[in-house]
């Protein structure tokens, strides 16, 4: 080993194990999330119980008390067997994925609970067997830590070697097959890595919460980025942080025995909540503020349009309005009118001198664009989409704010560059000025 594990205190061992588990779960969790097989983690973690019990029995029979390698091997084999059982059920019955997973999860877990009791006489000591059910890092043994360390290295190396094919079969398995990639073999390797990861994680966080460590850090990462590679690094970091942080929190309670699994899961969930709200593109707040911004734009632009119409289309640049005139033409309160006007001045659609507000040329252009967009869209709906002409106004009222110039050109071309809308109103031809978002 690279360093002397004996020199580590119990707590340091626990922290190291938790961090390694977080990394492993983060790496494989990203695939679990993008492949939409999140339930598989739960199914495997429950299904391996018979394997763990058998591992204890065989360890005892070989004269070793609780050998991690024996336990990992049996648990992994049983985990793979459970996945094969799911496949077999799907291939030979009309049952679908959820039912098949449910049957296997509970069936294997039931067998495990039964064996745990009935095989008790054949185990030298069942100490630590309950740790696999509920998770416990505080008593992690030297040999366990070594095993986790080696498995973690193995997984990171295998995934980095097979990263490109793994991503391809997750994204487009049909295409991967037509390239001649050995999809079945790749899937077998993937599910084996996943099972091994679950097996070594179970003793830390327990059967029930292991899928949380797989799914939550990866899901948080998915909300933060659109690149698979970045997603993996972020998920690894979140996983490690959840493991380490959760372990530290659990250890900070001196008098009560707080389970590691719970605190690790809660740390991961805390990170998820943060990215749920604050993720720059896919977060709730980002979506909310985008929506608010659009609402503001619509309110401002509607006021601008109103102003342009009431000033009279041609000489709009020459004339000006006062606050109270503007308020009455829009049926605004003075307060509302003032904030609208100030906002339009800020966008350089208006200038203000004393009490008089005047349109700027970019304000005029934008107003004409809006009116044009509105009338064009009405015409498009009436002529091309066969809408009755009295049904088109409300739709155009919204669309006018979001039509971009490229689409406008397309519509104009399709309609043969019309000059009047379905209600006989002229369609203005604004001079292009600066771009408006």
């Amino acid at each position: 080993m690279m360093f002397d594990l004996i020199a580590l205190t119990l707590i340091q061992k626990a922290l190291l194990a938790a961090t390694l588990l977080g990394v492993m779960c983060g790496v494989l969790g990203t695939f679990v999330v993008v492949r939409r097989i999140s339930l598989v983690g739960d199914a495997v973690s429950h299904s391996i119980l018979p394997g763990i019990v058998l591992g204890f029995v065989v360890s005892s029979a070989l004269g070793m008390n609780r050998n991690p390698w024996v336990i990992f091997t049996f648990a992994t084999l049983v985990g793979l067997l459970s996945m094969l059982t799911v496949r077999q059920i799907l291939a030979t019955t009309r049952l679908k994925n959820d039912a098949a997973l449910g049957i296997v999860l509970s069936g294997f877990f039931g067998i495990g609970l039964f064996l745990k009791r009935s095989l008790r006489p054949y185990m030298e000591s069942a100490g630590g067997l309950n740790d696999f059910l509920f998770g416990n890092l505080a008593t992690i043994a030297e040999a366990d830590l070594k095993a986790i360390f080696i498995v973690a290295i193995l997984i990171v190396i295998t995934v980095s070697l097979l990263l490109r094919p793994f991503i391809l079969i997750s994204f487009d398995v049909l295409f991967a097959k037509t390239l001649g990639y050995p999809v079945k073999l790749l899937n077998l390797v993937f599910y084996s890595l996943l099972t091994v990861t679950i097996v070594v994680s179970v003793q830390a966080v327990g059967v029930v919460l292991v899928s949380a460590m797989l799914i939550i850090p990866a899901s948080s990462a998915f909300l933060l980025t659109d690149r698979k590679y970045h997603m993996m690094w972020i998920a690894m970091g979140f996983g490690a942080f959840s493991g380490l942080g959760g372990c530290l929190i659990a250890n900070s309670f001196d008098d009560v025995n707080v389970p590691n699994g719970a605190t690790m899961t809660l740390t991961a969930a805390g990170i998820f909540l943060i990215s749920y709200f604050y993720a720059p593109n896919h977060g709730i707040l980002a979506k909310w503020s985008k929506q608010r911004k659009l609402e503001r734009v619509v309110r401002n632009e509607n006021a601008l349009k109103q102003l342009y119409k009431s000033l009279g289309d041609d000489a709009a640049l020459e004339k000006s309005v006062t606050l109270s005139e503007f308020a009455s033409m829009n049926r605004f309160s003075e307060k509302e009118a003032l904030s609208r006007l100030q906002s339009l001045v800020k966008h350089e659609y208006l200038t203000v001198s004393g009490k008089l507000y005047k349109l700027t040329s970019s304000g005029l252009t934008r107003a004409m664009q809006l009116v044009r967009n509105h009338r064009l869209w009405e015409l498009y709906l009436t002529n091309q989409a066969d809408y009755p002409s009295d049904h088109v106004h409300d739709d155009a009222e919204l669309i006018e704010h979001v039509l971009d110039e490229a689409t406008v050109k397309q519509i104009e071309a399709e309609l043969g560059f019309p000059s009047e809308d379905p209600h006989g109103q002229p369609i203005p031809k604004p001079q292009p000025s600066r771009e408006h978002a």
Binding site: V34, R164, I167, F171, D172, F175, L179, T225, D226, R227
Partner: protein
């Protein structure tokens, strides 16, 4: 003219339901071939089984005179747009690069050469400006163009495309057809599952009319006739389909082979 694709007595069952019976076919090189037929006629199934994605129950497939495995890098596949998850965290460039994976193999790293191939392919379909975008932020037509860029990056001699014209805008449709004609001009063979009877005679040199069995195959001018179309679209082969499903359910073939 040499043969791009040859099938003999190709029979496919899918989910225990037989879909294709005894397809005998020889597609010469350098042709644009359209596959048309009603829903459930087995059009997608045909190209999937030829590409080795679906298991073949009987008969054989040869590509350029040899089994598919020998010439797999010469054959490209463009799946239906709906067959992948467009929320998947990959960019337009990542998908175009997948076209180079076949020749690259599983382990070699993507290098400058591959990036250049993918960029050129994206440029060809007018999607280079979108290279860094996540694929979900694209319109249907743009998504289809990305799939085509991936196919161009594959640089194959024979392509199978599953409904590339579905859900795309008029500009994309004409861009795709120009591209297919360019491919043909280079001597490539393109086989396209098509759903629109109006454009079929205009787009394709040869047509394959499919309805669970091959109704007709030949130059468009010869097979795009009222009589053949009626035969293709005139109802599914209900009895054939039901009997065959029943036979598959009861594993008649097994019983048969066990009979001395």
């Amino acid at each position: 003219m040499s043969t791009a694709l040859e099938t003999h007595d190709l029979t496919v069952t899918y989910d225990k339901k037989p879909v294709l019976y005894g397809i005998d076919l020889e597609i010469p090189q350098g042709q644009l071939v359209g596959i048309i037929g009603p829903n459930g006629a087995g059009k997608s199934t045909f190209i999937k089984s030829v590409m080795g994605v679906l298991p073949v129950t009987g008969g054989w497939v040869k590509v350029f005179g040899e089994p598919l495995a020998k010439n797999i890098t010469r054959v490209g596949y463009v799946p239906q747009r709906g067959s992948v998850d467009w929320d998947f965290p990959v960019t337009v460039m990542d998908v175009a690069l997948q076209g180079t994976y076949g020749k690259l193999g599983m382990f070699r790293r993507v290098g400058k050469k591959e990036r250049k191939i993918a960029s050129e392919a994206l440029d060809k379909v007018g999607m280079l400006d979108y290279a860094k975008r996540q694929i979900g932020n694209l319109s249907g037509g743009q998504q289809q163009r990305v799939f085509l860029a991936r196919a161009i990056a594959q640089d194959c001699d024979l392509y199978f495309m599953d409904e590339p014209f579905v859900g795309v805008d008029a500009a994309t449709e004409s861009a795709i057809i120009t591209l297919l004609q360019e491919m043909r001009a280079k001597g490539k063979t393109v086989v396209v599952v098509h759903h629109d009877l109006q454009t079929a005679p205009e787009y394709f040199d040869m047509l394959m009319l499919l309805n669970m069995r091959l109704v007709a195959f030949g130059p468009t001018s010869e097979v795009f006739t009222k009589e053949i179309l009626q035969k293709t679209y005139g109802g599914k082969l209900t009895i054939l389909s039901e009997i065959a499903t029943e036979a598959a359910k009861n594993d008649l073939t097994k019983t048969h082979s066990k009979t001395p």
